[in-house]
Symmetry: C2
Subunit: 348 residues, 2 copies
């Protein structure tokens, strides 16, 4: 005998196969089935096999909502990124999601479009699902968000940023260092009049940090910086065109340009070709981001590649460590400073 009686028809969860159904099918209590699912070691061999068979036969799918409510912690992790499309964060999301999935955790995702208000809305909604952890981008949040995060008491990770003084887990790189690296690279290759082109989006603080690094490196080499700020209302690609055109018309045009990102650089490259400026002969170019098209341009674009995928993977690993899903011997690393990689191509 396996089954006992028809379960009385209930009002809600219409016909869903429950743990209880499996338990009765096998002839054990629901706790044994629950243990089979969560701590199989504590279940006898015989029960393990019979429960496995029943699960398959009945097509039982554990109700994670009920489990989450009972245990006050669901196997779900929430992430807020500025945007999903766009060349920057997609790899981070991908790495994060895949690593989580491998360990049975699911990803709850929303985008903020660099608005702390939208971020706040997303986080408020997320917290309702009692996620096991929360991952955000950068350290810039609204006051209400900070309050919620403090009250939530779950692992919090800030990515694409590195603020050692802040409490959350930090996973990112130094934009300042990127500026230094790029500038030194151009200096080493013999360029003397190196300009920096800022992003047209005024809110891009990271770009300004990269610029500061550039200024420092040039200062150390005794070279005077030359910063170009595009009109704020232009799309980056157009802003890059504008920058190149205006810079090359100056009395002493630069012999190298460090663009705040690859979109700007691509615009610059195109404008250069149209204007008959030889790259890198007349002027070298360096971007940031290693967007997918960087190697497809003519000439291919030298750039600095941020560890986008690695940030996502590491964020997931730190989350899983904090949750005890992954166990390591090492001390837990709250601060994770990753490195960018300079990729020299034809444009420099």
């Amino acid at each position: 005998m396996t089954d006992t009686a028809d379960p009385p028809r209930k009002r809600r969860g219409a016909g869903r196969v429950t743990q209880d159904a499996v338990a009765r099918h096998v002839g054990v209590s629901t706790m044994t089935v629950s243990r089979y699912l969560n701590q199989p070691d504590q279940v006898s061999d015989e029960h393990r096999q019979r429960i496995a068979a029943a699960v398959a036969e009945l097509g039982y799918v554990p109700n994670l909502v009920a489990g989450g409510l009972a245990s006050a912690k669901g196997k779900i992790v929430a992430m807020v990124v500025p945007n999903i499309s766009g060349p920057i964060f997609a790899d981070t999301i991908q790495g994060f999601s895949d690593t989580l999935a491998r360990h049975g955790y699911q990803l709850l995702l929303a985008s903020s479009y660099f608005s702390t208000e939208q971020e706040e809305r997303a986080i408020r909604a997320f917290l309702g699902w009692s996620p096991a952890a929360l991952v955000v981008t950068s350290h810039f949040h609204s006051e209400a968000t900070e309050k919620m995060l403090a009250a939530a008491d779950i692992p919090l990770i800030e990515t694409w940023d590195y603020q050692p003084d802040r409490a959350p887990i930090q996973i990112g790189f130094s934009h300042h260092e990127v500026g230094v690296t790029g500038a030194r690279y151009l200096l080493q290759r013999g360029y003397q009049r190196i300009a920096f082109v800022l992003n047209s989006a005024a809110g891009d603080f990271s770009a300004q940090e990269r610029c500061a690094g550039y200024v420092q490196a040039l200062g150390e080499a005794g070279v005077s910086p030359q910063i170009f700020t595009p009109a704020g209302d232009l799309a980056p690609f157009e802003a890059g065109k504008q920058a190149l055109t205006e810079l090359m018309q100056r009395a002493t045009p630069p012999d190298a340009i460090f663009f705040a990102n690859d979109n700007l650089a691509a615009g610059g490259l195109l404008a250069a070709q149209r204007a008959g400026v030889s790259i890198p002969g007349d002027c070298a170019m360096l971007g940031f981001g290693d967007y997918p098209f960087a190697e497809m341009l003519m000439p291919s674009l030298s750039t600095i590649k941020p560890p986008a995928l690695q940030i996502g993977v590491l964020a997931a690993e730190r989350v899983l460590q904090r949750l005890g899903v992954i166990v390591t011997d090492e001390v837990f690393q709250r601060l994770n400073l990753l490195e960018c990689r300079l990729i020299g191509r034809e444009s420099s």
Copy 2:
């Protein structure tokens, strides 16, 4: 007086502010608070205001997990895509996520990498969260997946595909039509020897459908097709280079090439420049996808743009309609055939 007594210290949900706390703070029952949240119309003005104040003061965040368990339907929608990064699906995810968020629904996301097995795993995990709806890519699923989906009894949407005969909601476009459109466009512009370059990834059935459309259109015009199949182990960009090199060495080289996607075309473009083949003078080029770099290439790439963002937005809208969140007068559209747009640029 507002508060009554300290809530007894419970074992689990450590210190979380509950609906009950809000109710006691105001002096009503939890049901009134619940109604305030879900059907505010049924709550008196006075209570509405006092509850609103209490919610703000206490920092109450509704526990959606508990709500989901009680009502057997959470405000969460699950989506499986082949990949998150990559130029194809990111826009769809973005549009889907944003539209959902605007209506208070959250996105649960996973990627399948075109593996029905991984898709099955993701869907199994998702169903545990009783999502309000499920969105997948294409109609190709494992048997077990089909069974689960049938049993789940929630709105199911298949995107980036269009199979009128299948039961789920369909949102996509006709790849065959894309092939026809592209070929006719090239014919109209006077090209006579038009080649088609397939994708190097053998599993790309959509590309083969586009190719079939190309063959049909050429047949109707009395032109014989010329299909090039790259080596299967090459990355698309490299495959494109190979294709161009070999095609241009033939006795009668093509005067136009229709590439299965923009990555292939970009490779072809680069190889052409290196080989001194003038584009579009010696040979025109047409791609598919309108990847971000298409307009940045030299010459800029003519291509066919799929409605990626629109697919995502429409998927969300259909979900929300089916759930009754959005109400329209029109009859519900189960079949949604969208159109691609041909973007003529310098390469043709």
